[in-house]
Symmetry: C2
């Protein structure tokens, strides 16, 4: 069970977008170059963000993406679920119903106890992702990324942002 690489891409892209000045947009092309990713395929990940309403887009030259809400409101969970889907990682096939000792047509009272444990763990995972915003990430990055690279990247991005 491994998350798609698109999740990583989308997270890094949102990290960049969260640093954009108000009202500016950054294109797929720029984001792909900055991260060394295949432009066409990265585009699919960004479209997922768009469909989830996490980013706003404009067409034409100088078009691209910006965050649809403040970085303080955008969480890791938002992005992960936009790309990976919001379904549970554990799917209960209800195999207890195959027990030959059960009367036919017997109706289960509630969800399987095994599934409930797995779903609680799932919720713990989601809860951890929900606690971290891109404002938090921005602070962390600013504190630990080499200042020369940080400002160099910022300039690079601004030069390409419409």
């Amino acid at each position: 069970m491994i998350l798609k690489s698109q999740v990583e891409w989308a997270l890094h892209c949102c990290a960049i977008l969260s640093g954009l000045p108000e009202g500016r947009y950054l294109s797929t092309k720029a984001l792909a170059e900055l991260h060394g990713l295949p432009k066409e395929y990265l585009s699919k990940a960004l479209q997922s963000l768009s469909q989830a309403g996490l980013v706003h887009t404009t067409l034409g030259p100088s078009g691209g993406y910006r965050l649809a809400k403040s970085a303080t409101e955008l969480t890791f969970l938002d992005v992960v679920e936009a790309v990976e889907g919001s379904g549970r990682t554990f799917v209960c096939q209800n195999i207890r119903a195959n027990n030959p000792c059960r009367p036919k047509g017997y109706c289960e009272s509630g969800p399987c106890a095994v599934a409930r444990v797995m779903w609680e763990a799932d919720e713990a995972w989601r809860s951890a992702l929900r606690k971290v915003t891109f404002a938090d990430l921005g602070k962390t990055l600013q504190a630990e990324v080499d200042p020369a690279i940080w400002s160099g990247t910022f300039d690079w991005v601004l030069k390409r942002a419409g």
Copy 2:
């Protein structure tokens, strides 16, 4: 990102094995019939448990599986990791290193901040699974499963346990 169905199978099988009297073994065939699963493929999941040292096996007629340790010591995480692997669900491709603004051969100080957040969530998931043992599950099941089915299943299993 969905867990293999083998995880569900292995969990249910361990639930049954945890109810076996000391020293008795239950075969793949019995476990497959009880859960309505393909015997040959379920066998692969059980082999994973065996390789991880979670269960003990014997060959020959009346052979099969039993837990290698007490149900109070066997956790959900043990079983999930035995089947699914113990690797992280988020793999960091370190795409920050592709940043064209970085000097060539620049060496990163530590793990990527994005990855760290994802790994913390991963650990929250594992931590939740580590907290639940098969003794816990047994209590829950005994409390909520229809008593007639419960004892019927117990008899069914004992009749086939070597």
